[in-house]
Amino acid sequence: MINTARKGDIGEPAVVEPAVKEPKKRKKRNRFRTEQISAYLMAAPYVILFMVFIVVPVVWSLILSLTHYNIVQDMRWAGLENYKELFTNDDLFIKACKNTFSFAIVVGPFGFLGSFFFAWLINQLKFRNAYALAFYAPSLTGGLAMSVIWLNLFSSDRYGLVNDRLISLGIISEPIRWTMDPDYILPLVIAVSMWSSLGNGFLTNLAGLNNIPNDRYEAARIDGIKNKFQELIYITIPSVKPQLLFSSITGLVGALGVFDVATGVAGFPTPDNAAHTIVGHMYDYAFLRFELGYAAAIAFILFILNFGLGRIFMKIFSSVDE
């Protein structure tokens, strides 16, 4: 740490003029150093905890992904065998990928666009606190906890409220077995997830929209911005780019990481694996079969997916002008 601080000093103007040897300059340099140390100290608690509980476990599981390891037997080196096995020999994994993608392609964009659009609309309403509560409340419930309600609403007989209403409206004649019929499970999981998908992005956008200083709008009006649409394109969206980056990335990770809701609605494993997802597959191997190497390989494939798509979002949203 001291080494790097000294390196940093070389480029500083204070060192470039060594002829001046006043005590004042010295004081300034000393202060610069204490400021640097205090900066490191402020970051230290997070950095240490992050290293111990995130970096080390992730690296550990990266190494595990290159081995055959199931806790009971000794670890055996596997090279890329786990990855090869996943793509060539594991039909269930391919199915999990398909399910996850068809889920993510609906819920991801909906959650991202919806979280901005509704935050933007609500921000302009009277009683916006009440509207914000109604839209955010679904995200306050645990995904698993609400399954009590979903199973009740979407019960497979006429005791289920949804079936009963649909029958009495004459839309269907027989009760639909929502949580058991493979044809309906994935759509149901998608619908339920959309309900709570506004989530964190919504609240972040709301906070971001409120952070836009008013004079920016005033200046824009003087510059000739006429309507709400122009205001949205030229002022609002550029001002909340950082929040959009956040909501796009958390939305992406959330959509590709779907598992809780599927388990809550249709159990685990789901009938005919109709809602088997990538994270579900990983959970299966990590906590039920204890084949940790294989599970870690799945985690890395998911990570690479997230990473690739996340880079695109970063390219789009990270240019902070000004």
Binding site: T4, E35, Q36, Y46, P57, A137, I149, S168, N211, F300
Partner: protein, 294 residues
């Protein structure tokens, strides 16, 4: 002064024109959507108050006709039959959640501020690593984490529910995004006035990012309060368990427990909604960066 006048005139013009028809339709649509979003939660509440015969009524009814507290007393009865009183779980949950939220908010915001604005050597690379960590799905790293926690001797202590969950990449990233919007001139002028790092953070940055901090408080509270995974794997002592894990054993008791299950979910959700409502005004407080340009 002039700006304000222009704005006022504009505002009046806008509102006069739009109060007529479009605005009414707009409010109606938004209210309809809001009600639709709230529907499952309303159903949760009414189910929690339904007596047994209404739970199995045919045809099913949405609203409750004779609300009763039966489900809640049933719930208490099942919980109290154990050797540990219900209040103990409540205490465990509250303690663990409050400490984790506090720890998360303090460490994540400080580090994110340092990484974004002070940029000491190494921390920029570090913040890139945090962004990557955001994209790593947790379950696969869970077993190495378990081994670390158990090697540190934290199994069956409150620490196991707190320490591993403090350094959350999401909060760091979120706060960094908000801090990046604070103009550098503001920080430089505070520096010239002789502000040290800590003073700069507490006096200047924190007041400007109240909305972000409140948002993180809500996220952290919801995540920690609803977490049933950590207590499931780290805690074996009955007296150390938290609410979600106790209540989830009731929810899974089949259809016969539907009422008690709904009551349990209702009770666990209540504090998160309460906290959100309390923090909401802060999240929605409009920030005025007045006098920055100078």
């Amino acid at each position: 002064m002039q700006n304000i006048d222009v704005r006022k005139i504009r505002a009046r013009k806008f509102s006069l024109r739009r109060i007529t028809f479009g605005k009414v339709i707009f409010y109606l649509i938004m209210t309809g959507l809001a009600c639709f979003m709230a529907l499952p939660l309303v159903y949760l509440v009414v189910t929690a108050f339904k007596p047994l015969d209404e739970l199995f009524l045919f045809p099913p009814r949405f609203f409750v006709k004779n609300p009763t507290l039966q489900n809640f007393t049933d719930l208490m009865a099942t919980l109290d039959s154990n050797t540990v009183p219900f209040t103990r779980y409540l205490f465990n949950s509250t303690l663990v959640t409050v400490v984790s939220v506090f720890g998360s908010v303090v460490t994540c915001t400080m580090a994110a501020f340092v990484a974004e604005k002070l940029k000491p050597r190494g921390l920029q690379a570090f913040s890139r690593i945090v962004t990557y960590a955001l994209m790593f799905s947790a379950p696969a790293a869970q077993i190495p984490i378990y081994l670390i926690v158990s090697n540190l001797g934290m199994i069956n202590t409150y620490w196991s529910l707190i320490i591993p969950k403090i350094a959350v990449p999401m909060y760091f990233f979120l706060y960094q995004q908000f801090v990046s919007q604070i103009p550098n001139e503001l920080i430089e002028s505070a520096r010239i006035d002789g502000c040290g790092n800590m003073k700069l953070f507490i006096r200047i940055i924190v007041p400007l990012t109240k909305a972000a901090i409140s948002t993180i408080v809500v996220f952290a509270f919801v995540a920690n309060w609803n977490d049933s995974f950590s207590p499931m794997i780290y805690i074996q002592k009955q007296a150390m368990k938290t609410l979600p894990i106790i209540l989830s054993t009731i929810g899974t008791g089949g259809v016969a427990r539907a009422g008690a299950g709904a009551a349990a979910v209702f009770l666990t959700t209540l504090p998160t909604i309460g906290l959100y409502v309390a923090m909401q005004t802060r999240v929605l407080t409009t920030m005025a960066y007045s006098g920055i340009k100078g």
